[in-house]
């Protein structure tokens, strides 16, 4: 199959998944217990009657379910995700695509990048010393970090680094609009200062999840003939490791990175909650706590869409780099 053929087939698949997600997202919020017509309005009694009227007009919740679906699709195509219950009358799209999205992308982006680099470095070192003490110790450490609940790690970091050593601020995410900042640099410095805690927490937890994958990939590659050749040529071990082996081990790690792309927008609900980081993860938590269904629906759709698109892109890169995949 040509690369073009492969791309068009994957594009078709992704489009299909996207449609499935939209339907799933619509159905999920209407199959909940209780009166299905009232589902979108939240549990009875939690919504004030005056905007029940407004919402009924907007979503047509008194209409048959198929008509509701048509209305939902129409709104969606117009980029209208509805109005939040809790932050009424703020639009859902306004809540999502603002400073919260930026906060989450920065927090997750830095953590993912750091962890990705660290996982590959540690994985390469451990694999090159297969079955040695270094290998075993690093496996034990990463399994421990994999087994540690991320929110508890955050609590420990706050307890020690804020409570005992006063190295990091307690929590929060500074906003540029805050009048206490004289200029953008003062804000940026404070912002980075507040990032230390959550970034450390997430990095430890991501490295725990990715280390073994990286190590496994490297182990597979060490058995390949070209590594033996490189060693036989008398190349320095470090050169063999980091130029010959690493490049090929990167390939499967791309799919790991594609999965991580979703975190860029889903945020880390637990970590953001512990550190009161005002991102999309914390917004999800709030939406669940206050049964803010339109907000939850919007967040969920965004995350699912990003997941589908990033896995599509990853597959294309993968197929481009490794022609065997296409068949």
């Amino acid at each position: 199959m040509s690369l073009k053929g492969y791309i068009s087939r994957r594009a078709f698949d992704s489009g299909f998944l996207l449609i499935l997600t939209v339907i799933f997202n619509f159905v999920l919020f209407r199959v909940m217990p209780g009166n299905p017509a009232l589902a979108v309005l939240g549990r009875t009694g939690q919504v004030r009657p005056e905007f029940r009227q407004v919402l009924q007009e907007r979503y047509g919740t008194n209409l048959p379910i198929f008509d509701q679906f048509i209305i939902y699709i129409q709104r969606l195509l117009e980029g209208d995700l509805g109005v939040s219950f809790y932050y009424y009358p703020t639009e859902v799209s306004e809540l999502i695509f603002g400073h919260r999205l930026l906060n989450t992308i920065l927090l997750m982006g830095i953590s993912i990048l750091l962890s990705f680099i660290l996982a590959i470095i540690f994985g390469t070192i451990a694999a090159s010393k297969f079955k040695s003490k270094t290998d075993l110790v690093s496996i034990f450490v990463t399994l421990t970090s994999y087994s540690t609940p991320v929110f508890w790690l955050g609590m420990l970091i706050i307890f020690y680094f804020f409570g005992q050593f006063h190295l990091i601020p307690l929590s929060g995410s500074p906003r540029i609009e805050d009048p206490k900042y004289a200029d953008i640099f003062a804000w940026a410095i404070d912002y980075c200062y507040h990032l230390i805690g959550p970034v450390t927490t997430l990095t430890i937890s991501f490295v725990g999840a990715w280390f073994l994958i990286a190590r496994d990939q490297m182990l597979g590659i060490f058995l390949e003939d070209y590594i033996t050749t490189a060693r036989a040529k008398g190349l320095k071990e470090r050169r063999v490791l980091f130029t010959h082996a690493r490049k090929n081990a990167m390939l499967p790690m791309i799919s790991v990175l594609a999965m991580a792309m979703t975190y860029l927008v889903s945020g880390a609900t637990l970590t953001e909650t512990v550190f009161s980081w005002d991102g999309l993860g914390l917004l999800t938590f709030d939406a669940v706590t206050y049964s803010d269904y339109p907000l939850l629906q919007g967040l969920f759709l965004l995350v699912a869409a990003v997941a589908i698109v990033s896995s599509f892109i990853a597959d294309i890169i993968y197929a481009y780099l490794d022609p065997r995949i296409r068949y």
Partner: protein, 304 residues
Amino acid sequence: MTISTVNNGSGKYSTPSIFKRYKIRFTRFWHLYTDSPFGMIGMFLVLLFVTMGVFAPILAPYDPNKTMVGERSDNPSASHPLGTDRLGRDIFSQMIYGAQISLLIGLSAAFISLFIGTLFGLISGYYGGWIDIILMRITDFFIQLPALPLMLVVVSLFGGGMENLILIIGLLGWTGTARIVRSETLSIKQRAFVEASKSVGAGNRHIISSHILPNVFPLIFANAILGVVNSIIAEAGLSFLGFGVVGSWSWGRVLYEAGRENAILLGAWWHFIPPGISIMLLALGFSLISFSLNEVLNPRLRER
């Protein structure tokens, strides 16, 4: 492992019974497993917490829900080794009972995942064609959905509670197993013994249940144990956010209470360090078992 004949003691060779074959296989596996220090540490940790959970009513000094007026927010002492919470409940007893919930939810959710994943993988890999395409599209769909946000959405729609929590965690964790089982099934159905079975007229159901499943199972076992780790951690996270099982104590709920009482800022380490360590050690126990099983059951790694 190709043990087709054994010496039955009388000098004649015969094909051993199925029971004997499995016994030999298991003995071999057990020797390899006990050689692995990680595997033994893991088993020790898991057994420790299983004992703690089973004997919780005996081991716990108090009823974890009993509020003791006059002993509110106490520091650790001889009568309360880990102090009390703001309602005067004994934290040490909550910890002991926590083992029950974490193990129960972790194991049952992982079992559900294993069941669905194996079913999907077997059918998809064995029948191929359109069934395979449709089932794998569904799998892809669930793989791409981020787990925690989806769990939160479902919990907020259908409510918490023990059964719901197990179902939610179980129903969202089967995708990895499905993929592994599918690829194993694809390779096993090409083997000669499946062909042979087909040629003597065995039905699909018979081939799947007595030829493919027994061969797939060892490989998915390690994966299933990792599913327990994921379920335990997922339960802890949901409980910590306040969507756990109401009325019973899990370690996640102890941490939720600790968070509500500002234990971190008050320096009440006894309220949030022990439950966290317990989750970590139990999950680590299962992770170590899973890692060792993988090494023992995956010959590719063993031969190096």
